[in-house]
Every structure is written in C-alpha cells, then in structure tokens.
C-alpha cells in the first residue's frame, strides 16, 4: 500500500499537469477538470493496489477523470434542466479514447499555456493562472512569492477563469496569423515570472528562486513543443542569467555587480546550454529582442574576467536591439556599454541626453548609471547628487544598500 502511495505521488508529480491539460480540453471547464483530475487520482489510490498499476497511467487517469467529469455534468444538468449550456458542453461519450489520447496530448499543454496567457486576461491574472495551472503551484505559494494576500490572488484566478468561460476564450494553439502576438504574450509572462525570481532578492529568497526555476521549466516546455526563435532566445537568456545566480549576492546578501562577480562561481553547464540555444535562435535569422539580450549576456559569459569583456561586440548587439526596440531603457544600457568601450565621458554624454528628454527621470537605474560615470570621471559632487536621486527612487533593499555604500565611498 505504501508502495502504491509512492507510485501515485510520483505519477502525480510527473503527469498531473498533462492530465489536467487534456481534461480541460475534454470537459471544457477549468474547475470541473481540476475536480475530475483529483477524483481520478483518488480512484487510482483505491484501485491500483487491487488491479495493479496500469501500463499507461496517464491514459488511465485521463479516462477516469473524463468519466468523473461527465458524471458531474450529468448531475448538474439534472438539477437545472434549463441550463442547456452544459448539454452543449457534454463531450461525446462514444469518442474513442485512443483517438483523444493521440498526438493531441502534447498540444494540450500548449493550449493550456496559451489560454492562461491570453491577452484578453489581466496581466496579473495571466501570471497567477500560469503558475497555478501550468506549473501546479498552490494559490498560497503564488501569493507568498508575489507578496500578495492569498485571498486577492484567489479572487484574481476566479475572475480569470470566469472570463475564460463567459467570453469563451478558446482552448487552442493560436493560428499562424495570431501566433506572433500571442506567443509574445506568453513569453512576456514567462520572463516576468523569471525576473520576479531573479531581480529582487528581497523577501524570502528561496521562494523567489523557485519562481525562476518555474519560468525556466515553462521555457523548456515551450522550446520542446513550439520551437519558435524567440522562445528559444528567451530560454537562452534565462539560462545565461541563471548561471550567475550564485555569484550575484555576497554571503551577507549584498548585491554584487557583474564586474565584481567571482566568475569561477558561474554555472558552466547553464552557460553552455544557453549559448547553444542562442546559436540555434540566431541561425533562424528571424529572432527578436529576447535573442538579442541573450547574445549580449553571452558576451559577458564568454569573458574570463570583466576586464577582457568584448564591449565593442556588446555595443554592436545593442545597436541591433535598439533598431528593433527603440526604448529609452535599451538606450540607457547601450550608453553604459559605450562608456565601457569608449570611456565614461562618451557614456555620460549619452546618459545626460537621455535624462534630458525626461523619459527616464523616475528610473533609478538611469541615475545610478549617471552617478557611476561621474564617479569614474572624478566628478564627485555630480555623482553624489545622482546617487541620492537613485536612492530616492528605489525600493529594493539590496540595491539601496549598494547605493549607500557607493555614496559613503565618495566621501573618502
């Protein structure tokens, strides 16, 4: 009995998301599919000790879940016979199980991702729904990771599911014409989840790390099921960033910038994997911003020390990125790279021009970058003003401490 428990637990970890993805398609309803899946697993715990573990546990669970679900639809229909919506939803019972378990299965996981990240849902809800349904995190886990009240998060998910049902957001992989916009929405959710776990080391760092791991998992899944250039580029970018995790905080939790990181602590396996994916994305010649950011990250990854970084190549990648995404933040990053390549004065000219346009006036990193360039040029008073402005604008504790340290160093 203990053995069977362990087997069912293992199958749950391995298969529950796939089973759920297929049940949502077969039953046409998120909540119903979830209830049905849990009933199917309960059934497994009862039946598998008597009948043995089936040869294809996933098929068994889908089939059991589907019957439980149809049963529930029938009961609901009996209790409110006027509700013809459910009659319409009732799946054909004669449908051949072999057919429904066929190649469509892999597509079900994609369908689930695209539906959870549908642009008709609120951005916050897309993130929550993806973590809940695609990654299988509990509402409490998601709430903790995003420092939100569980009740707020639960409500967000309920609203999103309701909109999926009432507005009939379809459970499909989008058509070719719609794919670019829709894939973009998916990648944005994945990258947001990753950054939530990577950028902020505030709060509980353990749960935050889990978010990055979940984002990478979904990224891998996308590359496996829908190897579009930007999906590959995003996975490359996430792996290259992730490779530096151990080196970017000191033992006391202080933020360590790229040029000061102990590069022997970078994860070589992740760098190799990320670099290979980057080459694959670049080879398509049909890549976008994520691939270009990965390319920039890979130049850093290839440099044995900060001093030998190929800044000219980085500026070159930023030029391409800027043509594709002409945003002030990309311009700022390019200016910093130019400063490394052609000296701080060249960078400062660009940053001042950018700040003069006012778009980045509230962006703490723009002021931090300006402060750093002034410091390197020996303009201590200007550096001080900009560090103080950056401090006013940031809420992240490790960044605050870093800026305060730099400010203190100016006085020496």
């Amino acid at each position: 009995m203990e053995d069977i428990r362990r087997t069912v637990d293992a199958v749950y970890r391995e298969e529950s998301r796939r089973v759920l993805a297929t049940l949502i398609r077969l039953l046409g309803d998120f909540d119903l599919a979830e209830e049905a899946m849990h009933e199917a697993f309960r059934g497994a715990i009862e039946q598998w000790p008597r009948e043995g573990v089936p040869a294809n546990p996933r098929a068994w669970l889908v089939s059991a879940g589907r019957f439980k679900g149809i049963d529930r639809i029938r009961k609901r229909r009996r209790s409110s016979p006027l509700d013809d919506d459910f009659a319409e939803q009732l799946p054909a019972e004669t449908e051949d199980l072999a057919v429904m378990l066929d190649e469509d299965l892999e597509d079900d996981r994609l369908r689930l991702i695209f539906t959870c990240c549908h642009p008709a849902l609120q951005p916050d809800a897309r993130v929550a729904l993806t973590l809940r349904e695609v990654c299988g995190l509990t509402t409490e886990e998601i709430a903790r990771a995003f420092l939100t009240a569980p009740s707020t998060l639960a409500q967000r998910i309920v609203r999103a599911k309701n909109k999926i049902k009432v507005a009939r957001i379809p459970y499909v992989v989008p058509s070719r014409e719609q794919l670019p916009e829709r894939l973009d929405a998916v990648l944005r959710v994945v990258y947001l989840v990753f950054n939530e776990g990577y950028a902020a080391s505030s709060g509980n760092s353990l749960t935050r790390h889990d978010l990055s791991a979940e984002a990478i998992r979904v990224g891998r899944l996308l590359v496996e099921l829908l190897p579009e250039p930007e999906a590959i580029g995003l996975l490359a970018l996430m792996l290259l960033h992730e490779s530096r995790r151990a080196a970017r905080t000191s033992p006391t939790g202080e933020l360590v910038l790229l040029d000061a990181q102990d590069r022997s602590r970078w994860d070589r396996a992740l760098i190799a994997e990320g670099t290979a994916l980057l080459q694959r994305a670049l080879a398509t010649q049909n890549f976008g911003g994520y691939t270009l950011q990965a390319a920039i990250s890979s130049v850093h990854a290839a440099a044995p020390t900060a001093a030998v970084t190929n800044w000219a190549e980085i500026v070159g990648w930023y030029d391409v990125l800027l043509r594709l995404e002409p945003t002030p933040v990309v311009e700022l990053n390019r200016a910093v790279a130019v400063a490394m390549c052609d000296g701080p004065a060249a960078g400062l000219t660009l940053v001042d021009e950018l700040l003069g346009r006012g778009e980045l006036a509230e962006y703490h990193l723009a002021h931090a970058a300006r402060a750093d360039l002034c410091r390197r040029l020996g303009k201590s008073a200007d550096a001080r003003t900009s560090y103080e402005r950056a401090l006013d604008l940031t809420q992240l504790e490790p960044e605050r401490r870093f800026l305060e340290r730099r400010l203190a160093e100016l006085s020496h």
Partner: protein, 122 residues
C-alpha cells in the same frame, strides 16, 4: 456565441479629419458590412450620430428625468456597434481587428448575455 463589438472614437479626432478622409472611412465601413471574416456572421450593427445629439433618460421614484448629452463624459465616445455570431473570443477579436475605425479608436468586445427566466448571471 454572440458578441457585441462596440466602436469607440474620440469625436474631436473625427472632426479633425478632412471631409475626404471621413467619407473614405465611411465607405470602408459600408464595404466592411458586406465582408466576411472567418466564419463570423454579422447579425446587425449601426453607426451613431455624435454625442452632442444624445439625450439621457432616467426613471427615479417613478419620475422620468430627461437630460441633454451622453450618460458620461469620457475620452472616447461610443460611435457605433456590431452584433456578431462567432465561434469564440479569438474569432471575435479577429473580426474586431478588421473593423475600419479600429485604426483610430477602440473596439470593445463583449459577450452578449442571454436573458433567462431564473438564475440570470451578473
């Protein structure tokens, strides 16, 4: 599945168009009325006169209160609507994207609600 596609435009932007541009847009809309997008069926739709022609009616305590103007001052104003029958939201979105004024204003896509004797959703 039935949806309404509500067309919102900023009236001041429309008045700023030349007569030629405005007529061209209207011709496009007339042609669009005859166009088929996917399997979407156009059930009906109309264009509205500008909001300065609107009259607002409320009934409170059995008394009819009539006022001049639209129900609310908004940046964009309701300028017309389509009622469609579409397979799902993706198809409705594809249709909305083809509505000519979508290039100028905003199209709001809303599922139509069926009135039933009991248990109406809200």
């Amino acid at each position: 599945m039935k949806y309404a596609c509500l067309v919102y435009l900023t009236e001041s932007e429309i008045t700023a168009l030349s007569q030629g541009e405005w007529d061209a847009l209207n011709n496009e809309c007339m042609a669009f009325g005859e166009t088929r997008v996917g399997s979407v069926e156009q059930l009906g739709g109309e264009a509205l006169e500008p909001t300065h022609t609107a009259t607002t009616v409320r009934v409170r305590n059995g008394r009819v209160m009539t006022t001049d103007g639209p129900f609310a001052e908004t940046k964009e104003q309701l300028a017309g609507f389509y009622a469609i029958e579409a397979k799902d939201l993706d198809e409705a979105i594809a249709f909305a994207a083809q509505i000519p004024p979508a290039r100028y204003g905003t199209i709001e896509v809303r599922p139509l609600r069926t009135l039933v004797a009991e248990g109406n959703t809200r």
